[in-house]
Point group: C2
Chain length 458, copies 2
């Protein structure tokens, strides 16, 4: 399990500093949000919250880890009680509000909000960002790919190209919650109950003396649920051999070549051979654009297997997400804070996002302070998921998340859902939040810390 | 630890099939290689072998995992002994040959070669690919970034943008073995002995009543080793405040704005204030191109912090790597095999890569069959790292790998090392290997499995 060392060194340096300053009980709120959407994305789909909650619940620093931390020269100067008392008793005791997994989200909207004693909230930054941003990028890509498939099932099978084995498992889960019917990743099935599926590899065909023997042996064992991979030598010839031998597989898979032409040729052979019920699955470096092209060409493909594009979100493999301090306890009250760095300003205060709908679907989001009354017709997106370090709801089944995700994505304006040149979804800031930002910025400016002109929160 | 379920479902289906066919002792050789380099890469740097070996050494299927696998409908048909006998006793018993970590590698060259009983070699495919390809992509990016820095130290600090916490740790390691001086990832320091470094975050500055107080408090605790982040409000003003207050930090960090202008302005202020020894570190969405531009502009920057580009290899986040069956035991002898799929042909037989040098550096690689004598002046790249399932060497220290990596990269032809429009490094196939490929392809063709014209291994 990733623990307290799954963090950046400066988080430990700062945490030790807060402990030394006696600020270890000072409460603070941080918000995790994406600064800008990747150029190719009109919306994101939130994911990773379940893993983030598991992380917080089991967050510990072991004696061996503490012994290592003591050796770090960067922490020379930290008070002994940080190592002797604070780290051994480290637990996450804060509150977390978050947008449910599977929800479309946009730039500048808090996806996760953490209120906790300052050093705790600080130390969990790195792992929360890595967990939420990664899975959100995968879920966002999966929503696009599965939308492109227009109802045909998509299976995620990019584990081998994922960023390691944990990433493979988490990408599988994120892809399935945002629309994929299944994954090839067995670990994701075991841990998260995601449906698993698979066919056969070229090596199965190559390992036998000839292709037809390979098909026959597979079907002897697995029967009519078998999906045969037919492109090891020649896809069209393989389809003929299947028909000729009287095999009745559930499906065949094409993995190379011109998938429009090949699927048509193979479909004709199968149909003529009495195998109208045998499905054609297609794979081979597919993404949302290639899937959409195959669908629009009318290729007789019944389902898609998508690998690298899903497991790495290869056209947008990282999100510009941050975790920013927005308020801190001073003299018993929460004081709003903002950062004014050039081009990287933030909005102060703890926030809620309100999603406003018309009769035709959602029309805009309003980012507001938590203590405002939201727009009367809107729905608040952030919900409390952890209270005093304790999870508030059991893990949601993937099927349920997928269903609500698909409905929510379908309810977005058409332009926002477009795969190229998406229109921008309107996200506005409430009047009280805008006013607070101006006040905090000018107060900061008045104290001489803001000397640039034209600095505005964005 | 990732175990036997960290795989694709079809690996299990095929393994059960091999067991059912009585082929569980049949030896086979698979080779892991990258089909094509990403368009932006002239070379790759091999990495991830250490984690791959750890994976193989601890590879198990637990009783709970077996109970789950039994429930899978896709495995209905598998013989009971697969669940009752084969999976409970699962161990990796094969041999692994591999290119040492830190070695430059090119398209079409085996990076890892596995010879093992067929189902074992098959089941480890997914995890080996995910482990080696991911870390190789990160190391390759890190070699570029650190070359661009021209000797100035680069610290990896992209953990928060990595694909989860395991990816953060492994990316940190891969970046350091290919040239980074340090990482901010504490877990990588704890587990792999990688040097860790860090400064402070904007939140430290924001959490205090004012910036100077934040700086002073930090230096009270950590003394003159402190590196102060100066861009929370205004970088130039912060530098003046540091000088004015008589602070003597080891360094300051710039994280936004025009880094050429700001570094010059800050350098002047520090020098004029008697802080000529205070270093300037720069960060903020840097990559090899931005680092090279800063270096060539003569910006007075002493070191770089690079995040997302290093932790995700964001311009090439996945490698087109595969793991292909190249020979199988038939009647007691290894028989070479090849795949002929359109555009995805492979070369048959177990191979060695020979790197040939002239007096000026390396000039070409020759991919040859293992039982050939290599070019007399060449050096064989693949070495045996696992024998009968046992590791042959202890883990190599990161410092040692980094030193040999930097020397090897420096020895590549200049055009190959270029960051844009790199020239192609010559990788040729030995005459015996080319001949074998022709023989196997035509034999396969003669058996009627190859019907397309013009199919040639590539």
């Amino acid at each position: 399990m990733p623990g307290a060392l799954s963090t950046d060194l400066y988080e430990l340096t700062m945490a030790a500093g807060y402990v030394a300053m006696g600020a270890d009980k000072t409460r603070a709120t941080f918000e995790l949000f994406v600064r800008d959407l990747p150029a190719t994305r009109g919306y994101l789909v939130a994911a990773g919250l379940e893993q983030a909650i598991c992380y917080l619940e089991t967050w510990r620093c072991t004696p061996d880890e503490i012994a290592y931390v003591r050796t770090l020269s960067a922490l020379r100067g930290a008070a002994p009680e940080f190592f002797d008392d604070y780290l051994p008793r480290l637990r996450f005791t804060g509150d977390v509000w978050a947008v449910p997994e599977g929800t479309p989200v946009f730039a500048g909207e808090p996806i996760v909000r953490v209120t906790a004693p300052l050093p705790e909230a600080q130390l969990v930054e790195t792992a929360l960002l890595a967990t939420i941003l990664f899975q959100t990028s995968i879920a966002s890509k999966a929503a696009r790919v599965t939308q492109a498939a227009g109802g045909r099932p998509v299976s995620e099978f990019g584990g081998r190209r994922a960023h390691g084995t944990q990433a493979a498992m988490c990408a599988a889960r994120a892809a399935c919650l945002a629309g994929c019917q299944s994954t090839s990743n067995v670990e994701a099935g075991y841990r998260y109950g995601v449906p698993v599926s698979g066919t056969m590899a070229h090596s199965w065909v190559m390992a036998q003396t000839d292709e037809l023997t390979a098909f026959e042996r597979f079907m002897t064992i697995y029967g009519e649920q078998s999906v045969l991979l037919i492109d090891t030598y020649d896809s069209v010839a393989a389809a003929r051999h299947i028909v000729g031998a009287g095999l009745r597989p559930a499906g065949v898979r094409l993995d190379s070549g011109d998938l429009v032409d090949l699927s048509r040729a193979v479909r004709r052979i199968l149909d003529a051979g009495g195998l109208a019920g045998t499905q054609i699955l297609a794979s081979g470096d597919l993404d949302e654009h290639k899937v959409a092209a195959l669908v629009s060409a009318g290729a007789p493909i019944d389902g898609f297997g998508v690998g690298t594009a899903l497991s790495t979100s290869n056209d947008a493999p990282a999100l510009g997400g941050v975790y920013k301090l927005v308020e801190i306890e001073r003299e018993g009250a929460m004081t709003p804070l903002m950062k004014l760095s050039s081009g990287k300003q933030t909005y102060p205060g703890a926030k809620q996002v309100w999603r406003v709908s018309s009769r035709t679907g959602v029309v805009r989001d309003v980012v507001a302070l938590v203590d405002e009354t939201g727009p009367t017709e809107g729905e608040p997106l952030l919900r409390r998921v952890v209270r005093n370090g304790k999870r508030q709801q059991p893990a949601r089944p993937i099927d349920e998340i997928r269903a609500s995700c698909q409905a929510a994505v379908a309810g977005l304006p058409e332009g926002v859902r477009r795969h190229r040149d998406a229109t921008e979804y309107p996200v506005v800031v409430s009047r009280p939040l805008a006013q607070l930002a101006t006040e905090v910025a000018s107060e900061r400016s008045g104290r001489g810390a803001l000397e640039e002109s034209g600095s505005q929160p964005s």
